[in-house]
Symmetry: C2
Subunit: 220 residues, 2 copies
C-alpha cells in the first residue's frame, strides 16, 4: 500500500448508524456521570463503562474527555439558541413584557429539562476555555436579546441584555441548586426581577404599614 496516513484527526466522524449510536451513547454516558456523580468522576474509562462501550471505541471519536465535554456544551448551547430563536419569533410584534416572558420561559424550560446536567455543564464551561463555535453560539443568544430590547427602545441594550441574562442565570442556578423546580413560581420571580431592572411596573414588596395621606398623594 502507498502510505498509511499518519493518524491525522484522532476524532472520526461516524459513518454507519451503529457508530452514530456509539457516539451518542458516549455523550449520554458522560452526561449521566455529570448528573449523578459529579465532574471529578468523569474519567475516560468510566465514561466508556457507563456508555456500554470500550475505551478504545471512545477514543475513536473523542481525543479526550475535554472533547466530550466540549461537545456536550456545544449541543446544550445549540439547543438553547434554537429555543430562544423560536421564542423571539413568537414574540415578534408583541410588547416588551410579553417578549421577555417568552424568553424567560425558554430559558427556564432549558434549565428544568435536566437541571443537574445544565448546572454541571455551566460549571465546566466557565472552567474550560471554549472553542470559537461555542463562543459564537453564546454571542448569538445575546444578540438576539439585544435586538428584542433595541426594538422596544430600551436604552443601552447591550449592557442591559448582559445584566438581564446574568441575573436570570443567578436566580435559576440558585433555585435549582435548592431543588426549587416549580416552573410557574420561577417564571414569576424571573419576570419580577427582569421587569424591575428595566423600571417597568412591579407590585411593590413593601407592605404599606399605615397609609398616610402624603404617601397616597405622592406619585412615587
Amino acid at each position: 500500500m502507498m502510505m498509511t496516513k499518519p493518524r491525522l484527526n484522532p476524532r472520526k466522524t461516524p459513518r454507519q448508524s451503529r457508530s452514530q449510536a456509539t457516539y451518542v451513547a458516549v455523550l449520554e454516558g458522560a452526561a449521566r456521570i455529570l448528573e449523578t456523580e459529579g465532574g471529578h468522576r468523569l474519567t475516560t474509562n468510566h465514561v466508556a463503562e457507563r456508555a456500554g462501550v470500550s475505551v478504545g471505541t471512545l477514543y475513536q471519536y473523542f481525543p479526550g474527555k475535554e472533547a466530550i465535554l466540549a461537545e456536550l456544551i456545544r449541543q446544550m448551547r445549540q439547543d438553547m439558541l434554537t429555543d430562544f430563536e423560536e421564542a423571539a419569533r413568537e414574540a415578534k410584534g408583541k410588547d416588551l413584557a410579553f417578549a421577555l416572558d417568552a424568553l424567560i420561559a425558554a430559558s427556564l424550560r432549558h434549565h428544568l429539562r435536566r437541571p443537574a446536567l445544565a448546572q454541571a455543564l455551566e460549571r465546566v464551561e466557565s472552567e474550560l476555555q471554549l472553542n470559537d463555535e461555542i463562543h459564537a453560539l453564546k454571542a448569538r443568544m445575546r444578540e438576539l436579546i439585544v435586538e428584542v430590547l433595541r426594538e422596544r427602545r430600551i436604552m443601552e441594550p447591550e449592557r442591559t441584555a448582559f445584566d438581564l441574562m446574568a441575573l436570570s442565570r443567578g436566580i435559576s442556578d440558585a433555585a435549582i441548586q435548592s431543588d426549587q423546580r416549580d416552573f410557574d413560581d420561577l417564571q414569576q420571580r424571573l419576570s419580577r426581577a427582569i421587569r424591575g431592572y428595566l423600571g417597568l411596573a412591579v407590585t411593590p414588596l413593601v407592605a404599606a404599614p399605615v397609609k398616610t395621606s402624603t404617601e397616597i398623594a405622592g406619585c412615587r
Copy 2:
C-alpha cells in the same frame, strides 16, 4: 514505647509560629494555583511546590486537597460574613435603599478583592459538598439579609433574600468573568437590579418616544 497512637487526625494543628507560616503558605499556594492555572492543576504535589514546602509537610496539615479547598472556602465565607455583619451594623436604623447599598458594597468588595479566586472557589463550592460549618456561615449570611428586609416590612423576606442574593451573584459573576471591574459601575447596576426586584423607584430604561398627556398624567 507503650503504643504509638494509631494516626488519628491526619491534620495537625500547628503549634509553633513556623508551622503556622507553613499552614498559610499551603493555602496561599493553592489559592494562587486556582487564580492562575485553574482547578484541574490543583494537585497536592503542585500545591506544595508553589507553597515552597515539601509534599510531606503539606500532608501533616491537610489530609488531601479537598481539605485545602474546604479551608479556603471556609475562610472566604467567614470573611464575607464579617463584612456583611459590619455593613448591617452601619445600616442599622437607616432606610431600605441605604441598607441595601451597604450590603451590595460589602459583597462587591469581596468579589473584587481577588476576583479569579472568588470565582474559582464558588465553582468548587457548588461541586463539592461542604461541611456543616460552611453551610452555617452561608445560612447566617442569608439570615442577616432576611432581618434587614423584615425590619423594613418587606413581604416574604426569606424568598426575597434568596432571590436578591442569587441575582446579585449572577451579575457579579458574569461581570467579573468579562473583566468588568469598575466598582461604581457594578454598584449601580446591582442597586438597580435589587431596587427593581423590590418594586422601589428605578429610572426606567425605556426611552419615552413621545410624551403623551396620558403618560404624564398617570402615576404608573
